[in-house]
Amino acid sequence: MFEIGPLLIQAFTYARQFLTTLGATPLQAVVGIKFLQTTLTISIILAIPLFLVYAERKISAFMQARLGPMHTGPWGLLQTPADTIKLLFKEDIVPQGADRLLHLLAVILAAAPVFVCFAPVPWGTGFPLINLDTGILFVFAVSGVSTLGILAAGWGSGNKFSMLGGLRGAAQMVSYEIPRALSVVPVVLFYSSLNLQTIATAQMERWHGWMPKWFIFYPGIGQIAFIVFLIASVAETNRIPFDIPEAESELVSGYHTEYSGMKFAFFFLAEYVYVFLSSALVTTLFLGGADGAAFLPSWMWFLGKTLLIVFLFLWFRWTFPRLRVDRLMQFCWQFLLPLALVNIVLTVGWMMCKTPSQDVLPTQAAIPSSEMHGSPDDAGLTKAVEK
């Protein structure tokens, strides 16, 4: 039906021609368009936590035999905007012994990378902001930067206990990055490309007609990779059962207890955008991104699957108790990591037996040619840069 992807591409090409008629050099036009696309995507991403916070409160309420916010607006719909405005007016306290600049920088470091990670994620046909060849690696690299935000928050709060909380939080995130990255290796091996767009489109085929060839349906390797990636993502976003910040505040104050007002709201916002990003990655890698029957536009398929995975994240939060700190680390190093490594071996075994004669690695000639069928102005960008 109303497939928005191609419409957007047309709109952007007209805008580019319009800019060139205004006398901008082709490069400036392309950069302008990219800027426009980025603001559009970031505005969508900023709207999502508003919805997610409301969804979490409602879903957790129904799980707990209560109603959740009902008073602000019909069925409590205006609850999140009301909270945001309230947080806006809250006084912004910086602890006395703290390093003022670092206190602020920590929030930026924790929140900003998450938005950058959305660039290579394909929302639907013709939608990705930039068709990045090193898609998934770029996402892991940039999301690694938010660990620094937690360390800076711990150190920037001035008191010894939030520093300890920061250290533990960062240690958890760093150690869960490894199984998370390793669990993606089978997917990359299978579709022999890091580019999220290629991975998503490669999962569009069907097994004998009806069964979608999503990676999760591959027996054995698909399910293991999916589970390891999901668990590691829950740990990366610091949510129960892996939430060090709350667990720390039980005893030693967590790293974001010294924050108030808008800064605290940003930590909160970053967590929800990070949850949405992780579920978007799960959809792209394991559930075939925007692949779905024709009666729904592709981006709606993508959004539906992602929200399903987000529901999983919310569900985990309200059913599981919290793991103890050292058990949590032990779980990562002695269970998740070996499982991910075994899964890689299984995948290679699967690929070997699938194509016994031909060398597993595609020969030199078979390197996919560089022209992507993503948004055409990508190629334009590289040519323009060289002029």
Partner: protein, 164 residues
């Protein structure tokens, strides 16, 4: 002054600024943070010069891994007096002269290097890099894993607290 050159000058000015702060700042944590920023700009330069896989791995390994490690150690070691004491040893003037001399020598040598003007279009490098690493550079690739193993064991040996 085309756009790419403008970008180049802006990035390099920022990077040099952050690196100077790393070397001169009194507060170790601020130094470590500025080192992270300068490494981020190095990743930007890799991207500018066509190494997209390289930029991502620089961010992943350096900024996500090594810098977190350095920040960990800085937080362990933050003794109050370390902050206030003069950060540079008494012989900072000869060091400045030596560094300046070496820098000037390099720059004079590099200024007149002519480089080809028309260059091929930037290609995505991850697949080609993969073939290179596992094809011609297979031996160094394996040796590196031994180096990493040795580093891991070494770090554990030094790091573990032994009641000697």
């Amino acid at each position: 002054m085309t756009l790419p050159l403008g970008i180049f000058y802006a990035l390099s000015a920022l990077m040099i600024g952050f690196s100077l702060v790393v070397v001169t700042s009194r507060n170790l944590f601020r130094g470590a943070m500025c080192l992270t920023a300068s490494m981020g700009f190095v990743a930007a330069f890799f991207a500018l010069l066509g190494g997209d896989f390289l930029a991502a791995s620089q961010l992943l390994i350096y900024v996500g891994g090594v810098m977190v490690l350095i920040l960990f150690v800085v937080m362990f070691v933050q003794t109050p007096d370390l902050f206030r004491a003069r950060q540079t040893s008494v012989r900072w003037i000869p060091a400045l002269l030596l560094a300046g001399g070496v820098g000037a020598l390099f720059i004079r040598a590099f200024c007149h290097i002519e480089s080809p003007t028309e260059l091929p279009v930037l290609q995505p490098t991850s697949t080609a890099l993969g073939h290179l690493l596992l094809g011609d550079m297979a031996v160094p690739f394996e040796v590196i894993s031994l180096v990493l193993l040795a580093a891991l064991v070494g770090a554990l040996v030094f790091g573990l607290e032994r009641e000697s």
